[in-house]
């Protein structure tokens, strides 16, 4: 067995080094304790880059925000890592963590939905496919949501829809800008029509948000598809994508089956979407936080509504004390 195979085997075991958590205080996350690192995990120090197949030292990769230093490939971030990336240290207040998934249809495919949920909760250490809350971005406060792709493909069921809708409602009430980071395969089949209706529910909440003249920045990351793209993710006032992220409505395979021809390689990438006028910009992960805070500042300075500016300042000061 060569060295490469050795590390490949290790990687296949899907064990990951966990960074000690820094900013969560929601009830749903048991992240206060530093995780113990097992021998297995200690050995899993290397991963192969999905972009260029180079072997990468895991902790170096994590230090570089999961971006490959050889080919600049942006590896997927967990919801938690994403929040750490864009919010100021220790300012993120996670809300509505007490909303947890149910099994309304008693759905069973090859595995019962309940079991799927339990497994996903175990591997991701989160209760659902989204984390919502309020945090500062270089000092500018915003409502922030981040999706967890590892949780049943980041799919949107009742909980994701409800948590997002509540975040939008809080943002309207407190006059906060909104930043939603999407990473999802679409609506969650296991909750049937109820998942589909979350598209309408979140879009309806964003209608009120839109009319309140507040700023919504949507960030599309690898991958964003289906019912998520076709609802809240595309409704941003400003839409940002990460380099090489795959974004679309229908999946590549479904389209190829329908039109019976091979699709070009760059189809449905962030670059393709930019070319076709569907997104505003592609931003490198290392510059994302500064881009966001700049955009927040620019939309704040020209804001006609003086009172909203005051509310902003006031909330910024006391924000960790907000009870929601």
């Amino acid at each position: 067995m060569g060295l490469k195979d050795f590390f490949k085997n290790r990687r296949l075991k899907k064990v990951k080094l966990k960074k000690p958590p820094i900013s969560y205080n929601g009830q749903g996350h048991d992240l206060k304790q530093a995780p113990k690192i097992s021998d297995d995990e200690l050995c899993a120090l290397w991963v192969k880059c999905q972009g260029c197949n180079e072997l990468l030292y895991l902790s170096t990769l994590k230090k570089n925000n999961s971006i490959c230093k050889h080919c600049d490939f942006h590896h997927r971030l967990s919801a938690e890592e994403r929040i750490e990336l864009i919010t100021d240290y220790g300012t993120f207040l996670s809300i509505n963590d007490n909303i947890i998934p149910d099994d309304p249809l008693k759905f069973t495919d090859v595995k019962p939905y309940k079991k799927r949920l339990e497994d996903a909760q175990k591997t991701t250490k989160t209760k659902e496919a989204i984390v919502t809350g309020i945090g500062n971005i270089n000092g500018y406060i915003a409502g922030v949501a981040s999706m967890e792709f590892q949780f049943i493909g980041g799919s949107m069921g009742s909980v994701v829809g409800e948590k997002l809708t509540r975040l939008v409602e809080v943002a309207i009430k407190k006059r906060l800008p909104l930043i939603i980071v999407s990473s999802s395969g679409g609506a969650r089949m296991h909750e049937g029509i109820l998942s589909l209706m979350q598209m309408a529910k979140t879009s309806s909440a964003l209608k009120d948000f839109h009319e309140a003249n507040l700023l919504y920045i949507s960030i599309l990351t690898e991958p964003t598809f289906g019912g998520v793209t076709a609802s809240f993710a595309m409704l941003g006032d400003i839409i940002i994508a990460e380099p090489r992220a795959r974004i679309g409505f229908a999946g590549r395979r479904v389209i190829e089956e329908t039109i019976r021809q091979k699709l070009p390689k760059e189809f449905q990438t962030a670059e393709y979407l930019l070319e076709n006028g569907q997104i505003d910009m592609i931003v490198h992960r290392n510059g994302l936080k500064n881009t966001l805070s700049d955009l927040l500042r620019l939309h704040l300075t020209n804001h006609n509504n003086a009172t909203s500016k005051d509310v902003f300042k006031q909330i910024s000061k006391e924000h960790l004390l907000i009870k929601i």
Binding site: P101, I193, L194, Q198, S231, A233, L235
Partner: protein
């Protein structure tokens, strides 16, 4: 001459009986034995009764997709004598998978919009099998705004496998077209009534389905994904479509029990295609009833009722 109704696979026992009836009818001129025919006809009805009492969800999927099932344009023509179709998204295309226009119901001008499948291959090519492109949704949005401007109630008739998954649809931003319709429909101040008349295919259906009242015809379905698609992903084989159809809870009855649908509109025995006139009469009666109910509300109340309705959707545990 009336076209003969095409039978679905689970209706096969009926085929044998009707074949025997036809053969005997030919012979009857010779020997005059009418009794056998009468018996067989009775048998036909009782077998049909038996079949329709025990329909599985997948059987309902097949009925909802029946090629001879009336489509929105058929209902429109049966419901009103006045019908002016309006075309185009005003920026380059008229998507024939979405039809829209103005009809008159009891002296009131009503905007009616539907997804339209074809009845034969040629028409299906023109209508893209009822799968709208982004331009189709933009056409619908234009008509929603038109309706609001002139205070017309909106009725949408849903019968689509879903939004078109094609290269051009993606590069023209199918996602945004759907998302915009969801958001803008939510904010309209005129009554919106949606009726699923056939296949309610996921986001492509919901894009014209954010309504004050959601109704379904008895044998229609409404689902987040087609049973075949779901089976292919979760069971990894399309053969499990029947299991997927049962698990997904997609029939009108299931969705009524889930509280998503306000009313299930009865269809003629065997499905709307056996008697389109009766089906459209039932449809029109239900529409009239809910129009009357919604017209009592103020424009603000209408919007609020719709947003509240969707706000309540979803099942979760709040610990």
């Amino acid at each position: 001459m009336k076209q003969e109704t095409v039978l679905l696979d689970f209706e096969k026992p009926l085929f044998n009986i009707s074949k025997q009836i036809h053969e005997l009818e030919k012979q009857v001129e010779h020997n005059g034995n009418k009794n056998i025919i009468e018996n067989l006809k009775e048998q036909y009805e009782s077998v049909k009764n038996q079949i329709y009492k025990n329909l599985t969800p997948l059987d309902k999927v097949k009925i909802s997709r029946h090629a001879q099932r009336p489509h929105p344009l058929d209902y429109i023509k049966l419901m009103s004598n006045t019908w002016y179709e309006l075309h185009g998204d005003r920026s380059g295309k008229d998507d024939r998978a979405i039809v829209g226009g103005i009809i008159e119901i009891e002296g009131i001008a009503v905007m009616i919009i539907g997804t339209q499948k074809g009845t034969n291959m040629k028409e299906n090519q023109k209508r893209n099998f009822g799968m709208p492109s982004p331009e189709g949704y933009k056409k619908a949005l234009r008509l929603f705004y038109h309706a609001e401007k002139f205070n017309m109630p909106i009725i949408t008739l849903i019968d689509t496998p879903g939004a078109y998954p094609g290269l051009e649809a993606e590069s023209h931003n199918q996602s945004l077209a759907i998302a915009m319709n969801l958001r803008e429909l939510a904010g309209l101040k005129v009554p919106v009534i949606s009726v699923v008349t056939g296949e309610g295919g996921s986001g492509g259906a919901l894009a014209i389905g954010v309504a004050n009242k959601i109704l379904m015809l008895e044998h229609s379905i409404y689902s987040v994904i087609s049973p075949e698609g779901c089976a292919a992903i979760l069971w990894r084989t399309k053969d499990k479509a029947s299991d997927a159809a049962s698990s997904l809870k997609i029939t009108a009855e299931d969705l009524y029990n889930l509280g998503i649908v306000d009313e299930v509109i009865p269809e003629p025995f065997g499905g709307a295609h056996y008697n389109p006139e009766e089906a459209s009469k039932n449809l029109l009666n239900a529409i009239k009833k809910y129009l009357k109910e919604l017209q009592k509300l103020s424009p603000e109340q209408i919007r609020k009722q719709r947003q509240e309705k969707f706000r309540q959707m979803g099942r979760f545990i709040e610990a």
